[in-house]
């Protein structure tokens, strides 16, 4: 089939759809490799900063406070939807990344791990636990998704 045989309207619609798709992903597509790595590192810094107050509550070293926990959960919800977009081909190494090759070798597994994190976060928000005893299982479940993903998809650097 040659290009001449394609109907003009079909071509127009296809091109428009392609343009729309590009526009939707624009922010990510036009990120340089270094920017991708910097962005995902900054996002994970936010995740870590949000983990500390909740972790202290789980450890019993800080009074349980749902509003503080909720703020952390919202941070994780936002980052959870965004984080996976910053691992383009070519960003496997450099700029001090701790991303494991498994992210590119097993993209589905990586995406599934991120989904588990988001789901556990959403469940915790929906549960809105009133006491530490109620919060332990739901917040603990979120923390476990951190470990599970780091176990397979993060490498240890010096």
């Amino acid at each position: 089939m040659s290009l001449r045989t394609i109907h003009l309207p079909v071509l127009c619609v296809s091109l428009s759809l392609a343009a729309l798709a590009l526009a939707a992903d624009e922010a990510v597509d036009f990120e340089t490799i270094d920017e991708s790595i910097d962005t995902r590192k900054a996002l994970m810094e936010d995740v870590g900063a949000a983990a500390k107050p909740v972790g202290l509550m789980l450890r019993g070293e800080r009074d349980y406070d749902w509003t503080v926990a909720l703020e952390s959960l919202r941070t994780w919800q936002d980052v959870g939807g965004e984080f996976g977009k910053h691992f383009p081909e070519g960003s496997e190494s450099g700029s001090g990344t701790e991303a494991a090759p498994a992210i590119w070798e097993d993209r589905e597994g990586f995406e599934a791990a991120l989904t588990e994190w988001s789901e556990a976060t959403s469940s915790a928000i929906a549960a809105a636990p009133a006491t530490l005893d109620e919060a332990r299982p739901v917040l603990g479940a979120v923390f476990n998704t951190c470990k599970d993903c780091h176990d397979g998809y993060r490498i240890e650097t010096d």
Partner: protein
């Protein structure tokens, strides 16, 4: 002239005999086992403290075993090291492919003298230099526990090592230098957490096998006990866990115990790398054991 040759031949024969004698496997005999009925429930604690599953549990779909799969000790993990590839054997109680046919004495000799039934030396990738420190009753308990686990079929291939490491008999010399068979008396006072922690860290936990640097013959450099060093499995470094180590210097004993229980650092970053499996094992111990490990790590000499 003929006399010189005879003398030379005699010296060669004497040297060979001495070499053979020096590299012989040294084992315990039946008289070395106490009259003791092993306790499988107590053995489970040794199993997790000893990290048996971290090497011997068969990988599942190429990934490390999790949950109950940690109890399937069919082996098969490959450790890539500068000496070559070590293949972890089947130690499930399978009668033919595992250790189901072993006597108690066979098991104790493997764990504490690094000698297989029949007299072959084991390579120290199996950390018997640490396990040699465990009180013998605890080792007997461990066998009783392993005997309750699933029998897994399948023999694992031999290691693939380069020369001269491939000469197993030579390990006899290595052991003369590095295998200290004096057991700890054990915590005489069970309430002394440092003594209890020492037994767990230096014995079953075999923490020094990674966290203590090795010298050029692959033995632990005990002058730098737990001071960290290059990762024996390749890239990266294993952290210094003495009180001077940059990771642990600011951690309290309760931070260390919490890390071993939960896998979270005081900053709530997660445990990583090969330590993940270790932490999961430590999480199965009693809190008193984790507190004891922490107390011991706080008590050892700081090494910069």
């Amino acid at each position: 002239m003929g006399g010189w040759i005879r003398l030379l031949l005699a010296l060669v024969v004497i040297a060979a005999a001495a070499g053979w004698w020096l590299t012989r496997p040294v084992t315990l005999g039946p008289e070395d086992l106490p009259d003791y009925t092993p306790d499988a429930i107590a053995g489970e604690r040794q199993f997790w403290a000893g990290g048996c599953a971290s090497c011997h549990a068969s990988p599942v779909d190429g990934k490390r075993a999790r949950g109950d799969d940690k109890l399937r000790l069919g082996g098969g993990l490959e450790l890539e090291t500068p000496y070559g590839v070590f293949r972890v054997p089947n130690v499930s109680p399978h009668p033919d492919d595992g250790i189901g046919g072993w006597s108690m004495l066979d098991f104790v000799n493997a764990m504490q003298r690094g000698v297989a039934p029949g007299g072959k030396h084991y390579y120290p990738s199996f950390p018997y230099t640490s396990y040699a420190k465990i009180p013998v009753r605890d080792v007997m308990d461990l066998k009783a526990y392993i005997d309750t686990l699933p029998a897994v079929a399948g023999r694992i291939d031999e290691h693939s090592l380069g020369f001269p490491w491939s000469v197993r008999r030579g390990l006899g010399l290595w052991k003369l230098r590095y295998l200290d068979t004096e057991r700890f008396a054990g915590p005489g006072d069970a309430h002394d957490p440092v003594a209890r922690g020492r037994l767990l860290v230096e014995g079953a936990g075999h923490c020094g096998e990674c966290h203590t640097p090795r010298d050029r013959f692959g033995g632990m450099d005990r002058s730098r006990w737990l001071a960290g060093g290059p990762d024996p499995e390749g890239k990266g470094r294993v952290p210094n866990i003495t009180p001077a180590g940059e990771n642990l210097a600011d951690w309290s004993a309760s931070d260390i115990a919490y890390y071993l229980e939960s896998g979270f650092t005081p900053e709530f970053d997660t445990v990583g790398g090969t330590m993940v499996a270790v932490q999961e094992n430590m999480a199965r111990l009693d809190k008193a054991d984790r507190d004891a490990i922490a107390a011991y790590l706080k008590a050892i000499p700081p090494v910069e």
